[in-house]
Symmetry: C2
Subunit: 153 residues, 2 copies
């Protein structure tokens, strides 16, 4: 498999993986991991395909979360994170890392908003407890069975 084919498969994984596995650094320096919605997953979020249209060839990752969550406290103190997408039975995994940004643009919250999210953010997209996060990774590496690729970013 050449480098371009690997990159294509890695980007495809980002659009199909069931969850995004996000790790922050907790106080005392321990990594802390949780699954988050993978908003680039086309099957689950077809309404966001146009939002991500300009990012089909990059590893831009966007998340929504509760402002009051532990991860936001961690990121404010130390923005270093990893984001992992994988399909265990296929031995495929994409690992991104870099500094997570807290997005302050309120219009992005509206663009990302999905029906039903009142369950998490009762006041809607502009609920003060609704925060958008964005990772433009500094590192992207892809495992495919016993092959390993690092992409230029």
């Amino acid at each position: 498999m050449d480098h371009n084919a690997a990159k294509r498969l890695a980007l495809d994984l980002m659009e199909t993986a069931e969850a995004a596995i996000v790790t922050t650094i907790a106080p005392e320096g321990f990594p802390q991991t949780r699954a988050m919605f993978n908003l680039r997953r086309k099957e689950q979020f077809p309404g966001l395909t146009s939002f991500f249209a300009d990012h089909q060839n990059d590893f831009w990752a966007v998340f929504t979360t509760n402002t009051s969550s532990a991860k936001i406290a961690h990121i404010r103190k130390n923005p270093r994170v990893s984001v992992y997408f994988h399909i265990p039975r296929e031995f495929r995994g994409l690992m991104l890392s870099g500094k997570m940004e807290i997005v302050s643009d309120e219009s992005v919250k509206e663009s990302l908003w999905q029906k039903g999210w009142e369950r998490y953010y009762p006041a809607g997209p502009h609920d003060p407890d609704h925060t958008v996060l964005c990772l433009r990774p500094a590192r992207a590496q892809y495992y495919h069975q016993l092959n390993f690729f690092v992409f230029e970013l």
Copy 2:
């Protein structure tokens, strides 16, 4: 759901999750994540059930890996790790964190050895490139849909 029921479900998740998602801290302090074999997964490693028999009520996690791998270099420099088990479609996740130990007892390598691992460690269980890792976590937290539990350890 009470605390004991949650602990039972968390331990059950550890014995059924398709993979263990292990995060180390890479140089410059970025988390780095990869999937590893979940050796407590009974369906996949039935031969190890007796090895883990004394650990049915705790969150002890054991791994085998290549001594030459990046994760070993990370752990030697900074042993802080997280280990995550989850079933995305059920919104269940178990997060363990603590300091990963490198196990020097050679007999453990024999006890864990599985048919076919010559693919990864050509010289067998005592291959110098075969290393066993063990996490006795300092923290264990379990997410079950919108519920969240922290267990005493």
